[in-house]
């Protein structure tokens, strides 16, 4: 059978639209399902209360605080190291077997299952360095986990800054370091921020690494050396132990909202920062 080009075009259009629609339906189904199951527990007492009876009742305040602490710590550690490595790889080295090994290593690391990072963090930070289950050990392990992502996205972003901008800076008497700080990094900022946001999202949602390294204490952490339970871990334990499905859904809903908020805030921030450049 011969299909006329016009009919063929229509068939392709329908197929592609259907695929897109399918993705959206699945996405909204998941969010809608969790929202419908979890929305009714979202009360001020749930958000700002202490958990009771292992989380069966009461709120999730300690897990919210723990999530914020651990994520911020991981980002604070991984961002400077990651961006620094990316600057080194792009601006201070020429392509060589060494740089491709580093790049390959970063790519391989970003594909390693997170539980490996959990185990690594447990052995190195919790046991060897005697940090115990703690915010510090959790933040460090998460930083290791997201580091490859931040390096690679920053590297791509820095590489995408046109070379002639650097030449302009050099030709006006700019030193290499001044050129990087004043021209390269500001122009790579949107891309770098994308990597940081990705890493943030992964940290917020991570369970395996955190269970191994930060523990699952339900107390509010008061220092870097206190153990803690993040929202994702709390959700996992609530569901697995069958403590309270509705509170598990409530936690999950908050997790989704949090990730959404991080994205919205970060991108609007980025927009404000780059607006005057355009």
């Amino acid at each position: 059978m011969i299909i006329r080009p016009l009919a063929w075009q229509r068939i392709v259009w329908v197929a592609l639209a259907a695929m897109t629609l399918f993705t959206l339906v699945v996405l909204f189904f998941i969010i809608g399902f969790i929202a419908s199951k979890g929305a009714h527990v979202m009360t001020p007492e749930f958000l700002f209360g202490m958990p009771e009876r292992m989380g069966k009742e009461g709120g999730i305040l300690p897990t919210i605080i723990a999530t914020i602490y651990i994520t911020l710590l991981a980002i604070a550690i991984a961002t400077p190291i990651g961006v620094g490595s990316a600057v080194y790889l792009t601006e201070y080295t020429r392509e060589s077997p060494v740089t491709s090994i580093i790049r390959f290593g970063a790519d391989a690391l970003s594909g390693v299952p997170s539980i490996i990072f959990g185990l690594f963090g447990f052995i190195l930070f919790v046991i060897r360095l005697r940090m115990g289950w703690s915010i510090l050990a959790g933040g460090l392990s998460l930083a290791f986990m997201i580091l490859p992502t931040i390096i690679r996205t920053s590297e791509e972003a820095i590489r995408a800054v046109p070379y002639n901008l650097r030449e302009v800076s050099y030709s006006l008497g700019g030193a290499k370091s001044q050129t990087i700080v004043r021209v390269v990094l500001p122009n790579a900022l949107p891309g770098i921020l994308t990597g940081v946001i990705l890493g943030m999202g992964r940290s917020v949602a991570e369970t395996a690494v955190v269970i191994f390294t930060a523990g699952s204490s339900l107390l509010i952490p008061k220092s870097l050396f206190d153990p803690a339970r993040t929202m994702a871990v709390h959700f996992y334990i609530l569901a697995r132990e069958g403590l309270s499905m509705e509170r598990a859904y409530g936690t999950a809903l908050l997790l989704i909202v949090a990730i959404l908020l991080i994205n919205v805030v970060a991108y609007s921030l980025m927009f404000r920062l780059t607006r005057k450049m355009r």
């Binding site: 020429r94 002639n164 050099y170 030709s171 006006l172 008497g173 700019g174 500001p186 450049m277």
Partner: protein, 249 residues
């Protein structure tokens, strides 16, 4: 008069390919020197050797001397050299940011100026490049919104802002309309008392319009250099004659 820039027996090879060979020339202070010649004759390389942007190349061989006020450029502090010898590129490259930030970029690198001084520098540089009247009310808008001709004058103003002694231009008007081109040529003539200009151009007529001296390059060699009037009327070398009269090129 002592030469501002002297090149002695310069040869340059990049990636094992000879780009310039046996080049000798003297550029006098406060003149406009045009460097003409077909593509791949080494004109751009000459500029990049003078301000040492060429050193970003991986395999670079350079012999001979390039002197700025009698001192080898490779012995000068590279940042100082580049402030003394500015370079304007063929396509205007505004830095992302406001017009003010673009002009202030060079002075800010030196961290010596107060804000009001900076404002004076920006204004005088824009005036010198004949751009002030067009942009004085929108210094804080993006430089990327300017037209092509305005952007190139912005680049000239940005170079002037670091107060160079020599300004090199690499086919600065190749992408511009006749009016913008005339404005830039005007600026060059007006500012001859302040700077020494080196103009690389493909446009023989432009070289005839603005320059005092002309150097003709072909395949990496300096074929002939002389007063503009002579080069275009009575060139000594047959190849120069062929090029300026349009028989080759």
């Amino acid at each position: 008069m002592a030469a501002k820039i002297s090149v002695r027996n310069l040869a340059v090879a990049v990636n094992k390919r000879l780009i310039l060979t046996g080049v000798d020339l003297d550029l006098e202070e406060n003149t406009i020197v045009s460097v003409i010649g077909p593509a791949h004759s080494g004109k751009t390389t000459l500029l990049r050797v003078i301000n040492r942007l060429i050193e970003a190349q991986r395999e670079l061989l350079r012999s001979g001397e390039v002197l700025l006020d009698g001192r080898e450029v490779r012995r000068l502090d590279i940042d100082v050299l580049r402030r003394r010898v500015g370079l304007i590129f063929a396509t205007p490259v505004p830095l992302p940011g406001t017009i003010f930030d673009n002009i202030a970029y060079g002075p800010r690198l030196q961290r010596r100026h107060h804000h009001h001084q900076l404002h004076d520098i920006v204004e005088s540089s824009l005036r010198a490049a004949f751009l002030w009247d067009e942009v004085k009310d929108r210094l804080s808008t993006s430089a990327l919104r300017l037209s092509g001709g305005q952007q190139q004058r912005l680049c000239i103003a940005r170079t002037i802002a670091v107060d160079p002694e020599v300004i090199m231009m690499d086919e600065p008007t190749s992408g511009l309309d006749p009016i913008s081109t005339a404005q830039i040529e005007n600026a060059m003539r007006e500012l001859k008392r302040r700077f020494t200009w080196i103009l690389v151009t493909n446009n023989v007529k432009q070289a005839a319009r603005v320059s005092d001296r002309v150097a003709f390059f072909l395949s990496g060699e300096l074929v002939e250099m002389g007063d503009a009037a002579l080069i275009f009327t009575k060139p000594k070398d047959k190849r120069t004659d062929d090029y300026v009269s349009g028989r080759i090129g």
